[in-house]
Symmetry: D2
């Protein structure tokens, strides 16, 4: 779950390997770019740490961060929303 | 399922949207690059069509294509292999 | 250059290898998703073929396709717009 | 340039925007996965910070890190190695 601390939202995600972690990052990148609201994030092998805050508002947590956090959660849990043709 | 026809393996994959389709392509791209065996593939919105044959062997289906097809199937069905931290 | 033929715009792009080709596709994917206007495209190793038409308008070339084609050209020629820190 | 400090190599890269930064990360991800040697890295908008060390050798800088650093430099400066068809 996301933690709100020091004026930012943060959450850690773990995957089976680097390829799965990076594919998740690719999905998040699309959503961030569409929202024009980008995370501060780091990756080591199968772990992705994401931190969200709104720079334009003086580095506090805003509704933009909460919306992006929600979208990221959907991308994470939605891995099995793929349907077969 | 993969079809073997005209000396090539082909399969079509469908996703919930473009982002999911492109994230799948990213995973396949990693595996293809690692195997140094690349697909001929096309994408329109949520659909990805993949065709495999071995150019160096005169455009026939070889064990390399079958191995790549297996790996692609694992990536496709493994969307839910992500575990939560 | 883009060709307009059979009610679609198409252009072929060539790169030094698969990694460069796929990184270009990733950039195009971001722009397409932001515009909510997606290409029909195919890739084999270092070659990317892109076809643009507007399905909602009965598969003709519209200003949306021309705009996306312009953006793609910028991404292609802008490979060297990266600046060093 | 890369700095060697605290038993790790690190370098910061800057791009024109998020799309260019993430496309660079995609290229680095391919090379890292092929070498089976992955970076610790972070990104905020147009900036990518990469840190390299070898965990299996007790978190020191090894020849693997130097090789990956070289490959990353080639990817960064090679943005203009794309040729037109």
């Amino acid at each position: 779950m996301w933690k709100e601390e020091n004026n930012q939202l943060s959450r850690s995600f773990k995957f089976t390997n680097f390829i799965e972690a990076f594919a998740f990052m690719t999905k998040v990148a699309f959503v961030a770019e569409k929202m024009n609201h980008h995370p501060s994030w780091s990756n080591t092998y199968n772990t992705v740490n994401i931190t969200l805050s709104t720079h334009d508002e003086g580095n506090v947590v805003t509704s933009k961060d909460k919306k992006l956090a929600d979208e990221i959660d959907k991308l994470f849990s939605g891995g099995n929303s793929i349907f077969k043709s």
